[in-house]
């Protein structure tokens, strides 16, 4: 086997790929050839590094040099200077990797040093399309251990000891779920991986599939062994083409190595995995809707019970876990449940991957031990709100979750803690809002999403979320009444109480939690007809102050001709008059502000 003196890791996750990281890789290979060092330096395309904000990302080992926002035109310099001459190209480093002229390695920068990676441990480290690299980092060792040293009950026990809970949303204890699935006997049983990641802004499952697809295959095979299933389905959305293709490659490789298929590792255990593509409906992340979809039907949830463990795919006992849940399992089997349960807090063990988004400096993926506080995640790892804006709230759990405010920042992250505060873990979306965000508008944004994504099966979700959204529309446009506000609240609780599946039941959460923490903002919209943050355009009014010099520039650009001169003469000499805006006609386009000469700045918006 060839050993290289240096490895250039280039992120091949979706984020970096879309900013041309694959071309950067090709360019690097041809540069290395040109310099004649292509036999010394290996170029590896990896999965997501997590710091997507800074992509495309390139890491050079053995130094661990962290280049960010690499452009194709930078490749030549990195090749010549760093890889040929050994001089780190400092101006291309991630800004935090250079402190007082000292270059920090990737492991030393705050974004990574404060994380703890289990599910993502291989992401950004190995080539996801090379099974050997996965094997090198203990890949398939857990499967060997499970198949040769443990019986199914022991595997399940290990999971129960670990305290792992489902990472997809509800947080059901994984060991228990496996035990239920194992307890139902049938001629056919299934293991299903829920890779229908739908929360806006959450992409940990995609990154895992792109970065370490074999972890999921290995875990599913272990699950098959533990629950007595011989067939697995991965339900992944078709809009994740890179994840799908890496899964396909991984399945092919695993089959070639005999790690999938009949008589795995000569233990007599058979297991096979098939990919099912979803069309991207949010509701198909709900396990019963997912099952319907796998069966080729319209993705609409079934009532539970019966739970999938009893009657799942094709009516057979089915174990469904989410991608991130599976990604934790090889490590648990290999290092033991006890090791895993030593991480985290009493009700929430291990680590959790979060997708940081919104008004935060380091948007991207982070994996942190449970019990880390929101403050540590948002400030220490995420770098806080950009432009020194004041933090206002953070939405956890995606559109189904709720918002938490600055008073909750020191809450240790855990399933029960978040639920207690009216939010939830969800799949791990974390959207940060700063002082410029209007919370009513935020609630409306999330409702808009769930309203669109409702499958239309049950009345509360189909009709109710739409009305909820319309009520929010009224409030945001200044048409809301106090009666609307009380209807909003009643309807929100009604939907929560009456919907068929979790999508509907959790859809009103953004409304309920913003009403709880930011009721004054709602009241400002309804009573004062004002949006305190100025986000809701319809509630803005434009005024011309007495700084006006009467030039008329604003009136000339106004598309609605609602700016006219007043009787107030500003200058006797020129006879110019001050202008005024007729707010009943104004469409709040802002053209007048643009037109007013900057040194005058007579038009204000409030």
């Amino acid at each position: 086997m060839q050993i290289y003196r240096s490895h250039v890791l280039i992120c091949g996750g979706t984020g970096c790929t879309s900013s041309k990281s694959l071309l950067i890789k090709d360019e690097m290979i041809s540069e290395l050839k040109r310099l004649g060092i292509h036999n010394e330096v290996q170029v590896v395309m990896t999965g997501c590094f997590g710091l997507c904000e800074q992509g495309p990302i390139m890491i050079v080992y053995p130094e661990g040099t962290f280049y960010s926002k690499v452009k194709i035109s930078d490749v030549k310099r990195i090749a010549e200077e760093h890889l040929l001459k050994g001089r780190i190209v400092k101006d291309l480093l991630y800004y935090e990797a250079l402190e007082d002229e000292i270059v920090k390695s990737v492991e030393e920068v705050d974004f990574y040093s404060k994380q703890m990676r289990i599910a993502l441990s291989n992401c950004g480290v190995i080539d996801p399309e090379n099974i050997d690299e996965y094997i090198a980092f203990d890949g398939y060792q857990a499967l060997i251990k499970a198949l040769t040293e443990m019986n199914p009950e022991q595997v399940i026990d290990e999971l129960k000891i670990s305290g792992l809970r489902g990472r997809g949303g509800a947080g059901f204890p994984t060991g228990l779920k496996w035990e239920f699935a194992a307890s139902y006997k049938d001629d056919e049983k299934y293991v299903c991986c829920n890779a229908d990641e739908g929360d806006p802004g959450a992409f940990m499952d995609r990154s895992i599939l792109e970065g370490t697809p074999h972890s999921v295959l290995e875990a599913m095979t272990i699950a098959g062994y533990a629950t007595g299933a011989n067939k697995g389905y991965i339900y992944v959305r078709a809009e994740y083409p890179i994840a799908v293709s890496r899964l396909e490659i991984a399945i092919k490789q695993a089959k070639e190595y005999g790690l999938l298929g009949d008589n795995i590792l000569d233990t007599g255990f058979d297991f096979d995995i098939e990919i099912r593509l979803g069309a991207g409906a949010f509701v198909c992340g709900e396990e019963t809707a997912l099952i319907e979809s796998i069966e080729g039907k319209r993705g609409m949830p079934r009532t539970k019970p019966p739970f999938p463990a009893e009657k799942g795919i094709w009516g057979k006992p089915t174990l469904i876990n989410n991608v991130e849940t599976f990604a934790n399992i090889p490590a648990i089997i290999l290092k033991g449940g006890k090791w895993f349960s030593s991480i985290g807090i009493p009700d929430s063990k291990g680590t959790k991957v979060f997708a940081l988004g919104g008004k935060i400096t380091n948007t991207g993926l982070v994996e942190i031990p449970m019990g880390t506080t929101l403050r540590q995640v948002i400030y220490d790892i995420g770098g806080g709100c950009p432009d020194n804006k004041k933090f206002k709230a953070v939405q956890t759990g995606g559109p189904s979750g709720g918002c938490l405010t600055s008073e909750h920042l020191d809450t240790p992250i855990g399933y029960d803690n978040l639920v207690k505060l009216g939010s939830m873990m969800g799949s791990g979306g974390m959207i940060v809002m700063d002082e410029d965000n209007c919370m009513v508008d935020i609630a409306r944004y999330f409702l808009d999403f769930t309203c669109d994504e409702s499958c239309g099966k049950c009345t509360p979700c189909r009709e109710g979320t739409k009305r909820l959204k319309e009520l929010l529309d009224r409030i945001c446009t200044g048409k809301g009444t106090l009666e609307d506000l009380s209807r909003l609240e009643e309807l929100a609780y009604y939907i929560q109480d009456n919907s068929l599946c979790n999508l509907g039941q959790s859809a009103p959460n953004p409304v309920i939690s913003t009403l709880k923490h930011f009721r004054d903002e709602y009241l400002a919209h309804v009573i004062d007809k004002k949006c305190p943050t100025g986000v809701c355009k319809d509630l803005l009014q434009y005024f011309i102050t007495d700084r006006c010099l009467g030039c008329g520039s604003c009136a000339r650009v106004c598309p609605k001709d609602c700016i006219t001169p007043t009787g107030e003469i500003i200058s006797e000499k020129t006879g110019k008059r001050r202008f005024v805006i007729d707010n009943s006609k104004c469409i709040k386009c802002g053209a007048c502000i643009q037109a007013c000469p900057p040194k005058v700045s007579a038009i204000v918006r409030q």
Partner: protein, 124 residues
């Protein structure tokens, strides 16, 4: 080709030799080769290649080879440091042949070749 457990272990060990480079905690031996303009013009490239080749040949998977720029002692180029457990030895006026000897003697057999070190050269 279907693999047995033993096959998989072999694949793992083989792959690991290369992959360890990416795990910074594992390595205890680091060779730093001067690759400034002075070094390259004095023949640092063949020296570097020889080191890598020798490491490859001997499957020394926990040795890191990194480059550095000019260290200011251009007359000693090509030169490189060998760091084992934080003890640094600097070899100077290297050739491919000498570099191979250093890998064998110093890195494998843990015997410093005093004749090639900077201390010896400076005294001359």
């Amino acid at each position: 080709m279907k693999k047995s457990i033993a096959d998989l272990m072999k694949i793992r060990d083989e792959a690991l030799k290369n992959m360890q480079l990416r795990d910074q905690s594992e390595s205890n031996c680091r060779v730093v080769v001067g690759m400034g303009t002075c070094g390259i013009s004095a023949g640092a490239r063949p020296v570097l290649r020889a080191i890598i080749d020798e490491i490859n040949k001997r499957s020394l998977n926990n040795v890191q080879v990194v480059q550095t720029g000019c260290v200011g002692m251009c007359r000693f180029e090509p030169m490189f440091d060998v760091n084992i457990n934080d003890e640094k030895v600097t070899y100077v006026n290297m050739t491919s042949e000498k570099a191979r000897q250093v890998v064998v003697e110093h890195i494998v057999n843990k015997r410093v070749i005093r004749d090639y070190t900077i201390g010896k050269s400076e005294n001359e």
